[in-house]
């Protein structure tokens, strides 16, 4: 984003710090063995039935969604899905959704809202797909519409960033009442690679960008942009997917118990106030 006008002056060569915990987490979030959305869904929910298509253009494989039971309670679960080997990565378009994916997600969320069923979304994407076909079919419009319409949903809505939270493509599933991040997930306005490409004209400087962007779960919690961090097994979720899934499930259940006390109007108000209060600025003359 903001790649047209900014960073026209290339920054000087920066020093590489000895250790970079932010970038280590970015690497963990992309670990080839890290559990993806469907891995969590099969461990957390029962009776998952996938629902396909946006009723308009097609079925985006980078977003999966359907109804399922969470401890016996019917919920709509939607997630961004990556592949693991070359074939499945291509099939899932590397977890980068196209407009029809976002429209499918919105359709499913509105379906859940109509019947007052809770919504759970699992975010894991580098970003929305930047390609000709995606632009032709209105990538920006699809994301924008999701952002506005999510604010109107009458269901309890919980989001967990399970891996990568890349910009608008991630947020398009994430205007929820409660937003959680796994310990080694990242969530930011731009990926460290794109950021480095803009500032230093070198995507290889991504580690530096990762540190500068403050994109880890700890950073976001500090800025009060998320509600809580879900702990992972010591070496990351890939070492023990079952334990990671169990932690996610516990968080979902307790948040859902909280939210189920609210009326639809209160849920909408709660969501509005949550995002309304995000942002730091000075508000006095001459600041």
């Amino acid at each position: 984003m903001a790649d047209n006008e900014m960073g026209a002056v290339t920054a000087p060569e920066p020093e590489e710090p000895a250790s970079n915990p932010s970038y280590e987490r970015v690497l963990l979030a992309r670990h080839p063995k890290r559990p993806h959305a469907l891995d969590y869904i099969e461990r957390i929910f029962t009776g998952f039935e996938e629902l396909h298509g946006d009723r308009n253009f097609g079925d985006d494989k980078a977003i999966v969604g359907g109804f399922a039971l969470l401890d016996g309670q019917p919920v709509m679960v939607i997630g961004q899905q990556k592949g693991r080997d070359t074939k499945s990565k291509l099939y899932r378009n590397f977890g980068m959704p196209k407009p029809e994916g976002y429209r499918k997600a919105l359709r499913l969320m509105q379906l859940a809202s109509k019947f007052r069923r809770p919504i759970v979304t699992l975010i894991d994407t580098m970003g929305a797909y930047p390609g000709i076909d995606a632009e032709e079919r209105g990538q920006a419009e699809a994301i924008a519409l999701n952002l506005r319409e999510m604010a109107r949903l009458e269901s309890p809505f919980i989001t967990v960033v399970i891996g990568e939270g890349g910009s608008g493509g991630a947020l398009a599933l994430g205007v929820a009442n409660r937003v959680f991040m796994l310990e080694n997930a990242w969530y930011c306005v731009i990926s460290p690679e794109s950021c480095a490409a803009i500032i230093w004209r070198d995507a290889g400087k991504a580690p530096l960008a990762a540190a500068a962007l403050h994109l880890t779960a700890q950073d976001l919690l500090g800025m009060k942009l998320i509600d809580d961090i879900i702990p992972e097994p010591p070496e990351g979720a890939q070492t023990d997917p079952d334990a990671a899934a169990k932690a996610v499930k516990e968080t979902l259940l307790s948040a859902l118990a909280d939210l189920s006390r609210l009326s639809p109007e209160q849920l909408i108000e709660d969501r509005y106030q949550k995002f309304r209060n995000m942002g730091n600025f000075f508000d006095e003359a001459g600041a």
Binding site: M1, N4, P130, R148, A151, V175, L213, F281
Partner: protein, 359 residues
């Protein structure tokens, strides 16, 4: 600068000059100097002057062969074929021509700046829309150019203590000095053809019109003001997207504004989004695409991913006109492409449809 020996410019259009010998001239790349040279060249051309040949230093080497019929004048690139006429010549050289003429980026013609300004910075010859700043935009839309500004002092808190080629705090200070704005947006209420409304205009010159916490907050306040006062809203976008230097906080502004627009929508108040060159990234992927009407100026670059990012992804050149207003109109994402000179009357007619005749 090295001009070829056959450099007679009598009947040549000036446009050919920079490409004379395929070398890049730093002088001609500077628009101010280029303007000056353009004016000078035109003047000399009218007097049917010729280049003497290669450029030479003021003090030429003694005994060097001179082309016939030329006289080397200190610091002069040109020599006269005819003697100077009475009353003309030297006095004229001191006339300032900088800023009087502008080369059109669309058709390449030299336009008199006054006629460009009279036409709202749209090229009178080819219709190319020059970018204009936020305050000019508001002056063009509000009656008599009069408006009351809201939240002019809201400014960024640099939440990440960001440093790239320079600290973000310093960049903000410089931008404030250069644009006389606290951040990349001007929000104002006033009247358009007698109808009271709220207009927000993004300022592209302020860090690429990027949206951080301040832009997010000011637009959200604007929307809330519109709901409280039952006013129509117009947002004129010109932005590279969300502001990288404020990280995830910038990202959340997309959600904040979009949620506020949901309330505006629920309150049945009209919102017209005007997209101008360029509107990309998180701005397109939030409020710019959420208007009751989404309209754009001709030829504006509009997209989610920037063209450079897409080219890197697909590794091929993008087709001509890709992500331009007309392309989006063709693909069904704009209600209309509206040229700047008729934008005000278009907004008036649209608002009449939404809210009825003004009182």
């Amino acid at each position: 600068m090295n001009v070829g020996r056959d450099g007679i410019i009598g009947n040549r259009p000036f446009r050919g000059l920079p490409a004379y010998n395929g070398r890049k001239s730093r002088l001609l790349c500077d628009p101010l100097k280029a303007n000056f040279i353009a004016a000078a060249a035109t003047r000399f051309a009218n007097q049917r002057l010729a280049f003497p040949g290669a450029w030479r230093p003021a003090r030429s080497v003694a005994g060097a062969e001179e082309p016939r019929g030329t006289v080397v004048v200190a610091m002069s690139w040109f020599t006269r074929q005819k003697p100077p006429t009475e009353g003309g010549g030297d006095g004229e050289k001191s006339v300032r021509t900088e800023g009087l003429w502008q080369k059109c980026d669309g058709c390449g013609q030299i336009i008199w700046v006054k006629s460009l300004e009279d036409n709202q910075m749209v090229c009178p010859k080819c219709g190319y829309h020059f970018r204009i700043d936020a305050r000019t935009r508001l002056r063009l839309l509000f009656d008599e150019g009069a408006y009351g500004e809201h939240d002019p002092y809201l400014s960024s808190a640099d939440p990440l203590c960001w440093v790239d080629s320079k600290p973000y705090g310093q960049r903000l200070t410089e931008m404030r000095a250069a644009t006389h704005l606290a951040d990349a947006i001007v929000c104002a209420t006033g009247e358009l053809n007698g109808r009271r409304l709220y207009i927000c205009a993004l300022e592209l010159k302020f860090i690429g019109g990027s949206m951080g916490a301040v832009v997010g907050e000011k637009i959200t306040r604007a929307i809330e003001h519109c709901i409280a006062e039952k006013l129509p809203l117009v947002i004129v976008s010109a932005s590279g997207g969300a502001r990288m230097q404020e990280g995830a906080i910038s990202l959340m502004q997309l959600a904040k504004i979009s949620a506020a627009l949901m309330r505006l929508d629920k309150a049945r108040l009209p919102y017209i989004s005007v997209l101008t060159d360029p509107t990309t990234g998180g701005v397109t992927a939030s409020f710019a695409m959420l208007g009751d009407l989404n309209i754009a100026e001709p030829g504006a670059l509009i997209g989610f991913a920037g063209p450079r990012v897409i080219e890197q992804t697909i590794r091929q050149k993008l087709p001509d006109g890709f992500q331009r207003s007309e392309f989006l109109l063709e693909h069904g994402f704009l209600d209309a492409v509206v040229p700047r000179p008729v934008l005000k009357s278009y907004l008036d007619r649209a608002l009449t449809f939404f809210s009825g005749q003004r009182q």
